[in-house]
């Protein structure tokens, strides 16, 4: 069966139950189905952005890749890329790290560049990488407490406190997002 709007094969068969004339059946190709689903909330201010995003993504990615991107989830706030696309708003500052490569084409499209050249805050402790590191350490501390490893938990607590008190290390946003063997304090032995 062909798509109602073009010559491609219809892979989506949608029954719209809330249509003005009662239930309506539609046969759409992937691209037109995406357009159809993106119509939701067309009066929302984010719609223009959303359209730009869909267009951008369609141009750049094959549909399989696209759905893989949509499923990506921010480890800090839990928002998926699909949720962001739908609402046009990010969930937390760490999204800019978690979705870095997916946001890049969009940022180029909107701003023409991806390098900030303006003012920076005098207090440089507000990077999302730092926030994420604190979250990771807190999770580890919780786990240690559950396993009754109180000595390890105590060390983690001190580590968290020193980061929270503004200890400046390579958590300043220049480095890759921290991973498990991330070491920021050379005086401490590796944690594993």
């Amino acid at each position: 069966m062909k798509c109602q709007h073009c010559e491609k094969t219809a892979t989506f068969h949608i029954t719209e139950l809330t249509g003005p004339d009662g239930p309506a059946v539609m046969h759409l190709c992937e691209e037109h189905a995406r357009d159809f689903f993106n119509q939701d909330g067309s009066t929302h201010p984010a719609t223009a952005l959303n359209k730009m995003l869909s267009k951008q993504l369609k141009l750049d990615k094959m549909s399989e890749e696209l759905s893989a991107v949509d499923k990506k989830e921010c480890p800090m706030c839990g928002i998926t890329f699909a949720e962001f696309r739908k609402g046009g708003r990010l969930g937390c500052p760490y999204d800019y790290v978690a979705f870095e490569e997916d946001l890049e084409p969009l940022l180029i499209n909107i701003h023409g560049g991806i390098s900030h050249t303006g003012k920076l805050p005098s207090n440089q402790t507000g990077t999302p990488q730092r926030q994420f590191r604190i979250k990771q350490l807190k999770d580890e501390m919780k786990e240690a407490i559950e396993k009754e490893q109180y000595e390890a938990a105590g060390k983690l607590r001190d580590r968290i406190a020193s980061i929270e008190q503004g200890e400046l290390d390579d958590l300043d946003g220049e480095t890759e997002p921290p991973d498990d063997d991330f070491q920021s304090n050379p005086t401490q032995p590796p944690s594993h």
Partner: protein, 358 residues
Amino acid sequence: MKFEQLAQQTGEWMRGNGPESDIVMSSRVRLARNLADFPFIRKCTPQDRSAIAANVRKAFEALPLGEETEYVDVAKLGDLDRQFLMERQLISHELSEAEGARAVVLDPQERFSVMVNEEDHLRLQVMQSGLDLKAAWKRMNDLDDILESKLTYAFTRQLGYLTACPTNVGTGLRISVMLHLPALVATKQIDKVFRAFTKINVAVRGLFGEGSQFMGDLYQVSNQMTLGKSEEQILERVSEVISRLIEYERKAREFLVEESRDDLHDHVSRALGILCTAKKISSEETMHYLSKVRMGVNMGLLESIPIPTVNKLFIQTQPAHLQKLCGHKLDVNARNTERANYLHQHLTDKDKSDPKRN
């Protein structure tokens, strides 16, 4: 702060002076900022929102400007008060209609306001009468600096200040100039002019922001890009566009005079006549004729009405302002009558009280 008192006064952006003020109503500079310790608004719990509001309030109280400024809990305001603040451009539609903890920090002279828990945790704005982007940016930068000493903002070196919507990331800066362009509208050149400008990434909105119509021939022109250029570069870019718009508007005004000074004089005088003598008038119609009167005064065709009065009437004839000024609620019908009374009183009294005419 008593909003009834505020309704009487003319806020900074409506003073009607400053450079190019026959065409430029006001210059406005906005910064979007987010606290590093919290998720963006859409992922905030009610507790997060309250904590953000409390942090901002504490920061303001600790600052030297804290005593004069007023922290207004928007969640506790009624519909009329929220609409009133919107009409004065001190809060946005989004902040007015949102749910949960939200606030606005107000300067009593209305030279700045800070919205809390709008699209971003903080939306700082500075207003300046006439065209003076450099002065507005300087004041904005100073305010940002002192707030920054009390709050930790989310940022990366690569992307600058991080915002809930990627359209604001980087500088978080939106420079917005409100222009009165009646002659470009009258000569039907306005669409053509703005079509040319959208190609160079400048956004055009109506008086009350996104989605609002171009009432009273008032247009807000602002930058779209916030990342990759410094604040000063963005400012220069917007300044260039604005100077050209001013030049076009002046040429269109000259053209109208050359075409027929008498017709134009008749046109603006009739507009004033309707405003002075109508018994019932809608807000839209009022804006329509006030725009013509404003042009007439600025072109020396109408005498005896000071521009600040015209500017003030643009705002004071808005629905919430009328109700604040008369002290009670009015339905649409009663508002139209009250509005006509108000206009009559302010436009004809000025005639009599003008010492030059006595």
